[in-house]
């Protein structure tokens, strides 16, 4: 049934209705942002599990983490814009990276902490080293499923941050292809998102 929805999405991407009043060429894929994007994803893919490993399931009850997670991506972008020192020039990719990590990291740490099993009475009773070992094993099992499930959310976050900070990236690419009706490019995007969904479903089943 899920694949039917993705099939409809593909059909919609192929036959996207409407046309721009002036024909415009599809945008060139922003290859120059692939490096910073990979850096952001790697920072997140390593940073969030590391924090979840240190804090464990009790992090879900941490109010400061919930307060950091609550503001929308928009607020982080606006704060970077407002507080960025003028002497450093406009907040380009470095500003975007700071805003991205501030907007997404707390939520991801909480997501991982929530997905971890409770540690009381075991492995807590076995001592700190057993707790750390169990957390490491759980996080290693969760890692792939977490990445597949959360990448579309990160794409949304980066889309908002890119628009506010004026830094074109992957989010802007997705958005521009819709606005110029680049059907081939959109189809690739939808296929990528469908692949992520399939991957998260398969890994979910494995975890269960």
């Amino acid at each position: 049934m899920g694949w039917l929805v993705w099939g409809l999405g593909l059909a919609l991407a192929f036959g996207l209705p409407g046309a721009t009043w002036r024909a415009s060429a599809p945008p060139v894929f922003p290859w120059h942002t692939v490096g910073p994007t990979l850096l952001a994803i790697t920072s997140m893919a390593l940073g969030a599990p590391l924090l979840a490993w240190i804090g464990g399931p009790p992090l879900t009850r941490q109010r400061p983490l919930a307060l950091l997670e609550a503001p929308p991506d928009l607020l982080w972008a606006a704060l970077v814009l407002a507080l960025w020192p003028a002497a450093w020039g406009p907040p380009e990719l470095s500003g975007w990276l700071v805003a991205f990590l501030a907007a997404s990291l707390p939520g991801e740490v909480r997501w991982l902490a929530q997905a971890m099993p409770t540690e009381y009475p075991f492995p807590l009773a076995w001592g700190a080293s057993a707790v750390k070992r169990v957390r490491r094993l759980v996080l290693m099992r969760l890692w792939g499923r977490w990445l597949a499930a959360r990448l579309p959310i990160w794409l949304t976050a980066t889309l908002v941050l890119e628009r506010v900070l004026g830094v074109p990236g992957l989010g802007t690419d997705w958005m521009t292809r819709v606005s110029v009706r680049d059907r081939a490019g959109l189809t690739l995007w939808v296929l990528g998102l469908a692949l992520l969904w399939t991957l998260s479903q398969v890994l979910d089943r494995d975890l269960a």
Partner: protein, 234 residues
């Protein structure tokens, strides 16, 4: 949930009067945050925009809840489809769509947000529905053939309690969805003043010449975000 529903009434509030000759006044006792470019008192405008955003989010959340209930009650066969729809955040759809059609006005945007938030409420609603469906009390209602109005009367408090538990998450999604879209200049036009619309005006100034209104708008967003965080239960 009650105060959020009360905000619905704010959608009927009239706009503030424009007075372009008094635009851009600095903060004073009479105007604590100054006036905006069109001469409206900035504090009054911020309050009105924020409360209207809350009202709009309440309307979207109500719609999402009603649609989610429908999906949970009748759409059991399409669970895979709802899962696929849930894998994409609503804004990932709405932002490009709005750019493609040159901005969405208030009611289509509300409808779209409601439609896209509903699948996210479906699993929690289905879980609650399953509890109800498998309860002996419900089996008795069905066996005795109780009329719908009496069923509704008896089960209304339970339904309200369940809705109240899920309403805040739908509400906050709708609130930030509308605020983000408006702040990026892709939301409803100037006729629909909201927190996001205010941010759209203030964002370009933030890096060079931030005004008290811009800071107050950011502070309001932060305050709304923090007040929406549920209190820890002991």
């Amino acid at each position: 949930m009650k105060w959020r529903l009360m905000c619905l009434a704010t959608l009927l509030l009239p706009d503030l009067a424009l007075d372009p000759f008094r635009g851009g006044l600095a903060a004073s006792l009479r105007h604590p945050l100054g006036t905006d470019d069109l001469g409206r008192d900035a504090l009054l405008r911020l309050s009105l925009a924020a409360i209207r955003s809350l009202g709009f989010a309440s309307a979207c959340a109500l719609l999402a809840l009603a649609l989610g209930l429908l999906l949970a009650w009748q759409g059991r066969r399409f669970i895979g489809a709802w899962s696929a729809l849930r894998s994409l955040p609503p804004l990932l759809f709405v932002l490009p769509l709005s750019l493609a059609v040159g901005g969405l006005s208030a009611w289509p945007l509300g409808l779209l947000l409601g439609l896209l938030i509903a699948p996210h409420l479906e699993p929690a609603l289905r879980h609650r529905m399953d509890h109800l469906r498998h309860s002996p009390a419900w089996a008795a209602e069905r066996t005795l053939g109780a009329p719908w109005n009496s069923i509704l009367r008896r089960w209304w408090p339970w339904g309200w309690q369940q809705a109240a538990a899920l309403f805040p998450s739908a509400w906050i999604s709708a609130l930030w969805g509308e605020a983000t879209l408006s702040a990026l200049g892709l939301g409803p036009g100037p006729g629909h003043d909201s927190l996001g619309r205010l941010l759209a005006e203030e964002l370009p100034r933030l890096s060079s010449d931030p005004s008290p209104l811009g800071w107050a708008a950011l502070f309001s967003v932060l305050l709304l975000a923090w007040t929406s965080v549920p209190r820890p239960t002991v």
